[in-house]
Symmetry: C2
Subunit: 333 residues, 2 copies
Amino acid sequence: MKKLINDVGAVVDDMIDGLIRSVDGLSRIEGERVIVRRDLEAVRSAGQVALVSGGGSGHEPAHAGYVGAGMLTAAVCGDVFTSPSTDAVLAAIRAVGGPAGVLLIVKSYTGDRLNFGLAAEIARSEGIPVEMVVVADDVSLATGTSNAGRRGIAGTVLVHKVAGAAAAAGLPLDRVAALARRVGDGVGSMGVGLTACTVPAAGRPSFSLADDEIEFGLGIHGEAGVRRDRMQPVGALVSTVAERIFEDRGLLAGDRAVLLVNNLGATPAMEMAIVAGEAARAAEARGLCVERMWTGAFLTALDMAGFSLSALAVDDELLGYLDAPTTASAWPT
Amino acid sequence: MKKLINDVGAVVDDMIDGLIRSVDGLSRIEGERVIVRRDLEAVRSAGQVALVSGGGSGHEPAHAGYVGAGMLTAAVCGDVFTSPSTDAVLAAIRAVGGPAGVLLIVKSYTGDRLNFGLAAEIARSEGIPVEMVVVADDVSLATGTSNAGRRGIAGTVLVHKVAGAAAAAGLPLDRVAALARRVGDGVGSMGVGLTACTVPAAGRPSFSLADDEIEFGLGIHGEAGVRRDRMQPVGALVSTVAERIFEDRGLLAGDRAVLLVNNLGATPAMEMAIVAGEAARAAEARGLCVERMWTGAFLTALDMAGFSLSALAVDDELLGYLDAPTTASAWPT
C-alpha cells in the first residue's frame, strides 16, 4: 500500500483538516467529525431548512465538499467506509437545526439508516423538526423499478443539489423533503471498476482483478460487483451501463435527462473526458435530450479506478434547482 | 494496461469530443485539435488580447480545461506527450488573432518552444501581433535562481489565470505578456510520484517503482524523477518539496504567497485533501502568509499517482487577477 497519508488512524482527521484549510467558508464542530457552513447563523436567521448528509469517509469529495450555500449545511464524516455514530449525526443536527427544521439525506446502507434514523428520532424528541430521505440509486443490484435493497451511490449528489437549492429558495421542510425524494426515486446509477480499492487500515485491496478483468455494478466500499467481465472498449462499457440505467429508470426517447459522470477515485482526467463523450453518445442513441452533463469526481471509493454513471429525468423545475448557484467546492460551476 | 479508452490511436480525439460535450462554451476548430471559446467573436470585438496555450495531451484538464472567459482563448492539443505541430498552433493563432494580438503561453520543452515559436514567427509575418512566454517552473532540475534548462509544469496554470484576467480586463499585449512573464518567473513547482504513468500507445509504465519507493522531482511525461527515495509519511514528503520550492524561489517569512496543490492524475480525493493540509502547514512553518490555496487536478501526467506543489509570491495586483471570475471549467471557483 502506497498512500499519501501520515498514519492509517489519522486519515479522516487529516482529510478534514486539509479540506478546511483548502476551502473557504467551512468550519469543523469542535470535537466532532462534522463540517458545517461557517455562515451557519445566516441559514438560521433566514429561516431556511438545514440539510445534513454524511456517511463513511473515503468517498471524497462526498459529502463535505458539498457543504456550502445552496447545498448542504453540514456533513458528518465517519471512519473510512464506516457509518458515523448516532452521536455525531445528532451533534450535526443540533448545530444546524432551527425552527425551519432539518432534512437528513442518507445513502441506503444499514449503518447509515440506523444511525441517522436514531439521531432523527432523538432530535425530534428535543423539538427539532427532522425529515429523512434515503437514497438507493444503484440499479445494478435488483431488477424492476423497486429500489428496495439497493445501495446509495453517486446519484445522491443530485439529491444534495436539488434539495439544497430548494432550501436556499426558502421552501418549507415538507416540500424540500418531497423534492429530495423525487430526485432520489428518479435517479439511477451504476458503476464499473477497473481495480479494487485499498482501505488504509486494511493495507491491501479488497479483491483482485486481472489485467483484462473489470467489475460491473460494484459498490463504493470495495465490495466486488455483481458481474465480472473482460475489459472492453470504453464505448461498450458505457453503453452497457447506460442502457441498464435507462431501462431501469424508464427513460425513453424524447425524455429530458441530466447525466452525472463520476470518477470512482483514481481515473485520470483524460479517461473521464472520454467516458463523458461515450455517455453523451449512449444517451443520444436512446433518444434522450441531455439537458446537462457533469463530469468529475463526485462520490468516490478511495483509490478505485473506474467510473459510475447516473441519469435523472428532469423537468423545468428540477433543472432550475440543478442550475441554481452554490458555493459548495465540489459542485462544478 | 487497463484504460477507459476505445483505441490507443483515438484517445486525443475522443478526449476532445468528450470535453466539448461536457463543457458548455467550447468549440473545436474544424479539422484541427484546437479548442476555442465558442464566443470567440466577443473577444475580438471587445479588442481583447487572445491567449493560446497547449502542448502534448495527457495533462488534462490542461490546457483545454482552461479555455473560457478570463483564461485561455484557445488550447492546442498534441498527441499524448507530443508537441502539437506548427500548423496546429498557427491555426489557433489565426482563429483567435485580432488587432489586439495573441499571447502564447508555452511550457518549456524543446518541441513546444520550437513549434509555438515558429508559428509565432509566421503569424507575425502575416501581421498578427504575437508575444510568447515560456514557463519553466520545475525547481527540481537545477539549483540557483535561474530557470535555464527547467521544465514547465503545473505552475503554468497560474500564468494562464493571471494573463487571462489581465486580457479580459482589456490590458494591451505588452502588459499582458509582462504579467505572464512575472508569474512564470515567480512560480516554483515540484512533484512527487508514487507510480509511473502509462502512455496508451506504449501500453506499459515508463518506469517501475517498488511498493516502498517514490520519485522526487519527476516530470509530467513519464520520465523518472531526479531522486528515488523510500516512501515516507505525507507530511515529510510535502515538507521536503515545499522547502525546496520556497528556498529556490526566495520565499521568506512574512511573504504573501498562493499555493497550487496538484493531483498528478490518479491520486484519490481523500489523499489530495491530506496533501493540501500538509502544504498549508509547511507554508506556515516557513512563516508565509498563504493568501489562497487551490487543490485538485490542474496539470496531470495521465495515470500517475502523486502530487505537485506550486508556490507563487503575490501582491494585491496578482491576487486581483487570480481572484477575477472565469468561466474555464477546470479553474476552481
